[in-house]
């Protein structure tokens, strides 16, 4: 008898938990598919999504973050997370279109189920149009890379290499294509340094690869790296090659040590896509849409690129201290 009571109680608890997710309280339950929560960049996006989620929560809704355990099988894993969000009864879904081949069918299923969708971070407005999403929120990777290439090219550095630690991911390839095109527009030319997938997240592997590459290709005087960690590792590799001051580095995103690098002059620039805003606006747009039926007529909400260099780094540091960046 006692066992039965326990079972009944837990069943009731499980049911109420399901209802909470399905939105019995009247608010919008928004599922956000994103990167690993321990990825420095994605933790900022997550914070933005959660801060916007405060409004959803006050209305009885919720924001749930779904991220992969690792990036080894990014496309299929992320597609699986999107389907999970549908299965859990999402009222609205936010997701990045990292690997269109693998993820588009899952996004199509979201739209087919009548769930409002916003594409953010990767894919651009093309992906949003193709998939029937409400909008795209994010920096355009190609334009971010372009800004980096253009910056270094205009500074007189003409031979570039883009460090790709995640070959196959569409957004990283767009960064690198943008970098090479930006450099070309300024009269230089760029190439891509492809690393094996096992190097991702291993600073030493990235540093040593960069070092070998600049030693074997002494004409290189500009590099572009994607993410805080890879940028730091790239700078270390250049220093170990004895090329500090000869090879100039721009990187995507920033943190304390990147800002310190820019202050000291070991890094030329950082391209900011302002991840916090990506999470914040994507969730806000969807919450207002589900609750009140509003739309944002401006298609393609750009959150970047913004260039941080020695001229404005102090302002950015002040912004970090104020909690705004």
């Amino acid at each position: 008898m006692k066992l039965l009571t326990v079972l009944a109680t837990s069943a009731a608890l499980a049911l109420s938990a399901t209802y909470a997710v399905a939105g019995s309280h009247g608010g919008a339950n928004i599922f956000v598919v994103g990167g690993k929560p321990d990825d420095p960049f994605w933790s900022r996006v997550k914070k933005g999504a959660e801060d916007a989620g405060v409004v959803a929560e006050s209305q009885g809704g919720s924001v749930t973050w779904l991220g992969p355990q690792n990036y080894d099988n990014l496309g299929p894993d992320a597609a699986e997370l999107i389907r999970q969000a549908i299965d859990q009864g999402a009222d609205a879904i936010v997701g990045p279109d990292w690997v269109p081949e693998a993820m588009d069918p899952a996004f199509e299923a979201v739209v087919a189920a009548g769930i409002p969708l916003v594409i953010y971070n990767a894919g651009g407005i093309e992906a949003a149009d193709r998939l029937g999403a409400l909008n795209y929120v994010g920096a355009v990777d190609y334009k971010s890379g372009y800004a980096g290439g253009e910056y270094l090219g205009n500074a007189g550095h003409k031979n570039g290499a883009c460090v790709n630690t995640l070959p196959g991911a569409a957004n990283i390839e767009a960064f690198c294509n943008g970098f090479n095109d930006g450099l070309a527009a300024a009269g230089g030319n760029g190439s891509v340094l492809q690393l094996p997938a096992t190097a991702f997240g291993d600073a030493t592997a990235v540093a040593q690869a960069v070092r070998a590459h600049v030693l074997q290709n002494p004409q290189i005087d500009a590099m572009f790296a994607i993410g805080d960690q890879d940028t730091n590792a790239t700078i270390s590799g250049i220093q170990q090659a004895g090329k500090a001051g000869k090879v100039h580095v721009c990187g995507m995103n920033f943190n304390d040590s990147i800002l310190a690098n820019i202050q000291q002059g070991t890094q030329a620039c950082a391209i900011d896509q302002q991840g916090y805003q990506q999470g914040f606006f994507a969730v806000s747009i969807l919450n207002n849409h589900v609750m009140y039926g509003t739309t944002i007529p401006t298609r393609e909400i750009l959150t970047g690129p913004g260039v941080i260099d020695a001229s404005n780094v102090e302002l950015v540091i002040a912004g970090v201290k104020a909690g705004a960046r």
């Binding site: 321990d38 690792n70 492809q194 690393l195 997240g201 070998a212 074997q216 004895g242 304390d256």
Partner: protein
């Protein structure tokens, strides 16, 4: 046990060499090095090339040593992948965020490894759960704890720390601007582990454990204590690499470190350690590590597609296992003569 017995000295010197467990690894290293020396050119053969692959070898090598010992004793340790970021986070948090002396940060980082290793050891020796599963479980728990505490205490997932000159020179300096000081630490660890496995009685216990755990216990070997000690050693070494990475890159990150799991196992297997336990040597593990590092760095000097490097590593791994079997049967046949 793996070395040919003295009474067999009448066998030819070449035969004796072929029966050494390291021979396969040595051949593998020589072939791989010659291959990349040919393609990589003078830069690869010069100091920049050597330091490049030695820097890689030192880090993965420090972890591969205890992982190899564990494998000889018949156990796996997957949790090293999460100890590296956990310990570097601890060090950067204590010394960078809370601005405590470097020594406190280093001690904190290293004790993370010892504690996680102790938990691994106790769980493996007190339960019948295979170490592969135990350490996978522990790895995920440590990953979660690292992330949780980082976000709770710092509000972000990376912490910067600029070490003082002495600490930097001991743990994160590039000698001559090229050779990471961790290469010297690696040599030190090699000496310690060589003594432990091949010269001290402790080494015989490890081999006995990998051969037959039950018999080892019946023979009076404190099997639980040996197992716990080995897991603590691998935790310590992984933590050491984590701490050294903070000093080198002046930043700790909750992500990363995962690459060390498979990389260390590959170094060990290419080095001729038997996957099921009971056979292997420190020299073999060192050679396996060097082979791994040369392939990893060689591809960049040879301007090859990095995927080719992965193919070579995979092929080497299989070749190592096959040749180990070959050398072992050779040894057994020679012993049976």
């Amino acid at each position: 046990m793996t070395s040919p017995s003295k009474s067999r000295a009448k066998g030819s010197a070449l035969g004796a060499l072929a029966r050494r467990p390291e021979t396969g690894s040595l051949l593998g290293f020589a072939v791989v090095f010659a291959f990349f020396a040919m393609l990589g050119g003078p830069v690869f053969m010069g100091a920049p090339g050597w330091s490049s692959w030695l820097n890689i070898a030192a880090e993965v090598g420090i972890i591969a040593l205890p992982v190899g010992l564990l494998m000889i004793s018949g156990e796996f340790d997957i949790s090293v992948g999460s100890i590296v970021p956990a310990s570097s986070m601890m060090t950067a948090m204590l010394s960078g965020h809370y601005e405590l002396p470097a020594l406190v940060g280093i001690a904190g980082g290293l004790s993370v490894g010892l504690i996680v290793g102790y938990v691994n050891g106790v769980l493996v020796s007190r339960t019948s759960i295979p170490s592969l599963i135990v350490t996978i479980g522990v790895m995920f728990s440590v990953m979660g704890l690292t992330l949780g505490f980082a976000v709770l205490l710092k509000g972000s997932t990376s912490v910067s720390y600029v070490p003082d000159a002495l600490t930097k020179s001991l743990l994160g300096q590039f000698i001559n601007g090229m050779f990471n000081v961790s290469i010297l630490w690696w040599l030190g660890f090699v000496a310690v582990f060589f003594f432990a496995l091949h010269l001290s009685p402790f080494g015989n216990w490890i081999f006995a454990l990998g051969g037959d755990r039950q018999s080892a216990r019946n023979a009076g070997i404190p099997t639980s204590r040996v197992t716990i000690g080995l897991f603590m050693a691998s935790g310590f070494c992984a933590a050491f690499v984590g701490v050294a990475q903070v000093m080198t890159y002046q930043q700790a990150n909750v992500a990363g470190g995962q690459a060390f799991i498979f990389n260390s196992i590959m170094c060990v297997v290419i080095g001729g350690v038997l996957l099921t336990g009971g056979a292997g040597s420190i020299i073999g593990i060192v050679l396996g590590t060097m082979t791994f590092a040369v392939v990893n760095q060689g591809i960049f000097f040879a301007a090859m597609d990095p995927n080719v490097g992965s193919i070579i590593i995979g092929a080497l791994l299989l070749a190592a296992v096959i040749s180990n079997d070959g050398f072992r049967s050779l040894t057994l046949r020679a012993a049976a003569k």
